[in-house]
């Protein structure tokens, strides 16, 4: 029979085991997780960032009627790509000032499909010329598939990192036994204890979000990670096609009949969709075999105010314009996936909810960052000679500097590259990405060569300076400086500029505090025999009962 004492020992053992698991699961891929979190956070504004990175595209003061725009661009694509087997266009909305479209071209090689893409002016319907950039897509793609490696490898790596994160979160919750008692606890100027309090607060306040975003991140790529159930359940091509229809409004174009028939009015089809979902809540128009008697048009519902990514679309006969089917819902399993997917992406959000997503996700980034720093803070106190730490400690410390301060520099440098790289540069979009990674690598080199504290301070100041001067660079290199944006109500451009200054201030404060106190270079914890401080009554009580925070 177990005694109370045995149970206490068993409980402590579990908590200590979980503490170790939390520490190492958080650290081993922590640098990758920090980068995934930060780039994912920025991706909540990827459409706005893409607009900022294409300053040639004018602001849409008023959203034109999507039905008219769809017809205009469909006509234009018909002239640009006659005979294409498939095209798709994404209609403009409050966050997109252009029509993004792609269409199939002849195959580039055996087993490969060719695609071409372009942006169109919604007012004229003509193709618009803007600088070659992937815009905010770069951070979005990076956060789940990285670069310079096959996409599938990147997605597996992101999945492994997310799994580590999930383990770290669960282990962290078990470890942190005083979640409610310590909910509002922060012990100022207490070195390691202060870092722990900050880490706990950042983790606990956003805990539902952190669990949701990590789990749903895994769900978005579940078909890659665990394909066996799907393979076992859907064996025939017909079954697989049915599955595809549950997950996406895109379908493979069938064999054309060869009978040429012009497309019926796309405008009229979009009007029917507007009547169903609202004037500005139509997402895409997809066409299979346009110009053929077998043409099919799918008009999809937009993302607004719907916590689900499950496809909803109206299917029309492209030649006659007759409504063939309305896909209003999917099965329970597909809908579950659709809801989880939508929760991760947050595309349904209004402006306020989007900002909430951004801020809470930023707290998640800070949670990972404080966790990484705490690893060094805790171990610095135990070093035999803190001036000459062992290799593992130095490696973690330098990787922390480059992955936290260095990433801020690299991401801002990427935006500087967008404004400064010559517009005629070949493969300019990829040159911007190369610049991002080159600068990031240089920050690692700098962190390796400089003393740790100096490296932190210099990199934080560098990030603050680059961020503070970015609106100035924007004013010098575009026709859309901050004062113009404010005067004309262009909140995308004004928002990016003002956010740069806010982040510059944040990095400046961090640089000042690091210069003054260091990142765990100073005091670690108060000596055990010291008198309780006025701001530390709870900790004193906890220490007396052997219940230090972890």
């Amino acid at each position: 029979m177990k005694t109370d004492n045995d149970q206490r020992v068993a409980g402590r053992g579990l908590r200590q085991s979980m503490s170790g698991l939390h520490t190492w699961a958080g650290l081993l891929l922590g640098w990758l997780l920090y980068a995934m979190f930060l780039t994912g956070t920025v991706s909540y504004f990827k459409e706005e960032l893409s607009q900022w990175m294409r300053p040639e595209l004018p602001r849409l003061a008023q959203l034109p009627d999507p039905a008219v725009v769809a017809q205009r661009v469909a006509d234009e694509i018909g002239m640009l790509a006659p005979g294409t087997a498939q095209w798709s266009l994404r209609l403009p909305d409050t966050r997109n000032n252009a029509v993004n479209a792609f269409w199939r071209t002849s195959a580039r090689g055996p087993g490969q499909r060719g695609f071409e893409e372009a942006r169109f002016d919604p007012v004229t319907g003509h193709k618009v010329v803007s600088r070659d950039t992937l815009g905010g897509e770069v951070f979005y793609r990076f956060h789940f598939q990285f670069y310079y490696m096959p996409v599938v490898w990147g997605r597996w790596l992101a999945g492994i990192a997310a799994m580590f994160m999930l383990v770290a979160i669960v282990a962290g919750v078990i470890t942190h036994k005083k979640i409610f008692t310590d909910f509002f606890t922060f012990r100022w100027g207490r070195g390691q204890r202060s870092w722990l309090d900050a880490h706990n607060a950042l983790s606990v306040f956003g805990l539902p979000f952190h669990i949701m975003i990590t789990y749903t991140g895994l769900v978005t790529l579940m078909a890659l990670y665990m394909p066996w159930g799907e393979r076992a359940a859907f064996k025939t091509p017909a079954e697989r096609q049915q599955l595809a229809a549950e997950l996406s409004a895109f379908s493979q174009p069938g064999k054309p009949s060869g009978d040429k028939l012009p497309l019926a009015s796309v405008e009229e089809m979009v009007r029917q969709a507007q009547a169903r979902w609202g004037r500005d809540n139509v997402g895409r128009v997809n066409a299979n075999n346009p110009g053929d008697a077998t043409a099919r048009i799918a008009v999809t519902r937009g993302d607004d105010a719907r916590v689900s990514m499950s496809p909803q679309y109206m299917e029309f006969d492209g030649a006659t314009g007759k409504l063939l089917a309305v896909h209003d819902g999917v099965g329970a399993a597909a809908e579950t996936r659709g809801v989880l997917y939508a929760l991760h992406l947050g595309r349904f959000s209004d402006v306020t909810t989007r900002w909430l997503y951004f801020l809470v996700s930023l707290m998640g980034t800070a949670m990972v960052g404080t966790g990484l720093v705490m690893w060094t803070v805790k171990r610095r106190a135990k070093l035999a000679d803190p001036a000459r730490p062992h290799l593992g400690f130095r490696l973690v410390e330098r990787l922390n500097i480059a992955s936290i301060a260095g990433l801020s520099i690299a991401m801002t440098a990427f935006l500087w590259g967008n404004r400064l790289l010559p517009l005629t540069l070949e493969n300019r979009a990829y040159a911007e990405i190369d610049l991002f990674f080159t600068v990031w690598a240089l920050t690692l080199l700098h962190a390796l060569l400089r003393p740790a504290k100096a490296a932190w301070v210099e990199q934080l100041w560098a990030a603050a300076a680059l961020l503070a001067l970015l609106p100035v660079l924007n004013a010098l290199t575009t026709q859309r400086p901050l004062w113009h944006s404010l005067a004309t109500g262009d909140w995308v451009f004004a928002g990016v500029d003002l956010m740069c200054w806010a982040l510059a201030a944040l990095h400046g404060v961090l640089a000042l505090r690091t210069a003054r106190h260091g990142v765990g270079f100073g005091r670690t914890t108060r000596p055990r025999n010291a008198e309780p401080r006025s701001d530390d009554r709870g900790a004193a009580a906890a220490a007396a009962t052997g219940e230090a925070a972890r």
């Binding site: 008692t181 909910f183 509002f184 100022w188 607060a201 306040f205 539902p208 809470v360 009554r537």
Partner: protein
């Protein structure tokens, strides 16, 4: 407007819940509150949060309302937390000067 009301209610809720815990009581009034007021603060805090949830669900439906509620509660908790840190620092500075 709905977001502003929900955020205000969440701030009130977390401020009440913060005052129901021992450390902020000592930091603000210098002593622990008796059980009665602590229970009242806990009830008031929980009620404010529930009303915020009701406001958001009423305005946005369950799906969107729950998502927005999660964001508002996190932000409000962080603001109350930051305010407590700021208050304690300001008191400490005044005591030093």
């Amino acid at each position: 407007m709905m977001h502003a009301v929900a955020q205000a209610l969440c701030l009130i809720g977390f401020a009440a819940l913060a005052l129901a815990t021992r450390r902020p009581q000592h930091e603000i009034i210098g002593r622990s509150l008796p059980r009665g007021p602590v229970s009242t603060l806990r009830l008031a805090g929980a009620a404010a949060l529930l009303i915020a949830l009701a406001v958001l669900v009423e305005g946005k439906d369950w799906g969107l309302g729950l998502v927005a509620f999660s964001g508002h509660t996190t932000l409000a908790a962080a603001i109350v937390y930051g305010a407590l840190i700021g208050y304690v620092q300001a008191v400490a500075r005044r005591a030093r000067s």
